[in-house]
């Protein structure tokens, strides 16, 4: 039993850190790789993210218009989709996952670039922020055991949903219509109005909708948005993350991804 726990914890950590498989030889971060990345960036990413990486490309403003989200500003070092603690940089694997899978609603997945090309463009994207030169991001480990989906797990998850006050923004039913969201009080870091995610629509979850994705989002928060990190509350718990993830998934009629 104990061994089983240990094994699943190891598997979890692996999944959390690298939920997108990347097996191609990752090129070194060096000026040559960056230059190759720039060529790809200029013909693929520049239209939204802009020539200076500030998210001000010529097509960028039409994406969200006067509301969030706008294309990521790479120069600030603030990234939403990470496996790292709140306020930290994303790992290369995190960036790889976003480039590959895209962001539902806002960014297409670029699996059509080869893995090497994706690594090259990530090297270039990282060069926009000096923070990548001095900080070494480390993924948060997820302790705990995958609990089976069942009434007990869902009941515990529902209780956590209340205790964590998820309903404040996401609403009691998960429709993204909590009182703070309805008041229009939710803003991103640049002051743009931002919507609470409709939890009944997993296909629109920007950071992914698998149980692992949900736990990762709960642990890390989404930097630059009001979504906080619950890492201090979830770390060290055995099944809270899984229970809450199960419950969030149960709010939707959509089939599991």
């Amino acid at each position: 039993m104990r061994r089983h726990h240990l094994a699943s914890a190891v598997v979890l950590i692996l999944m959390l850190g690298a939920s997108s498989p990347a097996h191609a030889a990752k090129p070194d971060d060096n000026p040559a790789t960056q230059a190759q990345g720039k060529v790809i960036f200029d013909r693929t990413c520049l239209w939204c993210h802009g020539v200076t990486g500030t998210g001000d490309g010529p097509a960028g403003r039409f994406l969200g218009r006067y509301a969030a989200p706008r294309p990521r500003n790479f120069t600030t070092g603030s990234f939403k989709f990470r496996s790292t603690p709140s306020g930290d940089l994303p790992t290369d694997q995190d960036l790889f996952r976003t480039v590959t899978k895209g962001i539902p609603g806002y960014m297409p997945g670029f699996a059509s670039l080869t893995e090497t090309e994706r690594w090259q463009v990530i090297t270039y994207v990282k060069s926009f922020s000096p923070a990548f030169l001095v900080e070494t991001p480390v993924s948060l480990p997820l302790t705990g055991t995958a609990t089976p989906l069942g009434p007990e797990s869902l009941d515990r998850g529902r209780a956590l949903y209340e205790r964590f006050e998820c309903h404040t923004c996401h609403g009691v039913e998960g429709w993204g219509d909590g009182p703070v969201a309805q008041a229009g009080d939710l803003r991103d870091v640049s002051g743009l109005q931002i919507q609470a995610t409709d939890l009944t629509r997993p296909s629109s979850f920007k950071n992914g909708a698998t149980l692992q994705d949900l736990i990762r989002t709960l642990l890390t928060g989404l930097d630059g948005t009001p979504m906080p990190s619950y890492a201090s509350r979830l770390t060290g718990t055995d099944h809270d993350g899984w229970d809450l993830a199960h419950y969030i998934r149960s709010l939707s009629a959509e089939s599991a991804p």
């Binding site: 790809i40 200029d42 013909r43 693929t44 520049l46 239209w47 939204c48 802009g50 020539v51 200076t52 500030t54 001000d56 490309g57 010529p58 097509a59 960028g60 403003r61 039409f62 994406l63 969200g64 218009r65 006067y66 509301a67 895209g102 539902p104 609603g105 806002y106 960014m107 297409p108 997945g109 670029f110 699996a111 059509s112 670039l113 296909s203």
Partner: protein, 469 residues
Amino acid sequence: MLRRIFILTVGTGILILIALSCLVLPNKAQAIPAFARKYDVNCTACHMAPPVLNTFGQRFLENGYQLPGTEDGGFTGKKKLGDVTLDDVGKYLAFRLVGNAVRNWSFQQQNPAGADAGVVENKTEFTFPENFVLFAGGTVAKNVGFMVELGHDVVAGETDVERGFVSFNNLGAHNLAHVRIGKFDPSAFYSVVTIRQQLNDIGESTSSGCTPYASCSLNRVGLGPGAFATKFYGLYDRSGSAISPFASTLYNSGGEMGIDVHGRPFGDSFLYQVGVLNGANENFGDTNKGKDVYAMLRYDYAKSDYFAVNFSGFIYQGNSNVQVQSHQDVNWNRYGISTRATYKMVDLYAAYSIDRINKVPTGVIGNFDATATGETIGMDTYVTNSTLLSLRYDNIDAGGMMDQRTSASFIGAKPNSTSAPTLPSLPAMTLTCGKPMEARPPRGIFETPFPPASISCSKEAPYASPSPC
């Protein structure tokens, strides 16, 4: 009238049409986005406001419906079933309804009085969506794209392939050559794309019972982009039907049969395009004794924050593509320049075209102006998160039969509300004013659901009009 010419009866004054349209119901349900579904993104990823593409959308189009800088046509959004890789049908089908749901016509003056058959003064009518358009678009395989646009005119009961082509992309090298074969919009890569219009397209009104190679009474002018319009009076297709001076045509027709090639082999800044068509006005019946050819060159600057600008110019050589009143073929050419700039959420565009009949046939010589020009200047901008304001100015300096021609200028404005970027638009108002050219018959169209007093564009309509518009 026994003289077979267009009669532009101007003495009765101007025609004013006020259409209280679409206050409640959408008049245009925009495309349900096939590509958005395939790539899991909002329309706004590619569209400034459908159908206007933003810079990313333009590059996607240029790349044959593949993400810019990639060649993903073979697998993205597809399922592999055995040895075939297929798109979900649901991911490449889309439809659009075009038309007015409710329209109030108020002819304050008729030209001549009561001339517009079937339309009486001050009439409110519910209308069925006037056009039903079915799209299918996507990729068949890596670097092979396709688009089919089937339009059904509900009122006339006709169905037509408006566009339908296959494209072979990235031939030779990435972005070296993309070939389109079929019926396509030649101007798709021009700075000002013909089908980008946000204003309601109001067609001209002619008298019924026109006979071949005879002019018809033109009761009111059409509102189309001036730069792209026919501009000539007294041109006929091979069956003798008069070609509307206001219809978009030649390079700017929106859909012609042929083959063309485009690419960016000289770096990212320059785009070339060359093509051959059966002939422009195929819809109208090009005589097609010879092929029409065209070439376009475009310069792009997009390497600045918030901002992109492009300039383009084309030459279109028509070959026996139209006839004049004396049943003689002529070669009709067009030369155009255009520019478009986007800054943050403002989209400005301008196009200017010169049309020439390069040899005036003896049958009409002396009564035929072989040169016509037109220009279109416009702006689309988001004034709030859900309101697109569109302004357009058009001018046609008409050519053709001197005893028929009528030049015209228009100004159109339209705030277009959408509750969400991906939902059908709810236009609040359209307004169009007409202004006559000097020493030429005045003509105009007004369409507005609001009390005209709330809009003042009297400078554009300096003649005595009961409307302050």
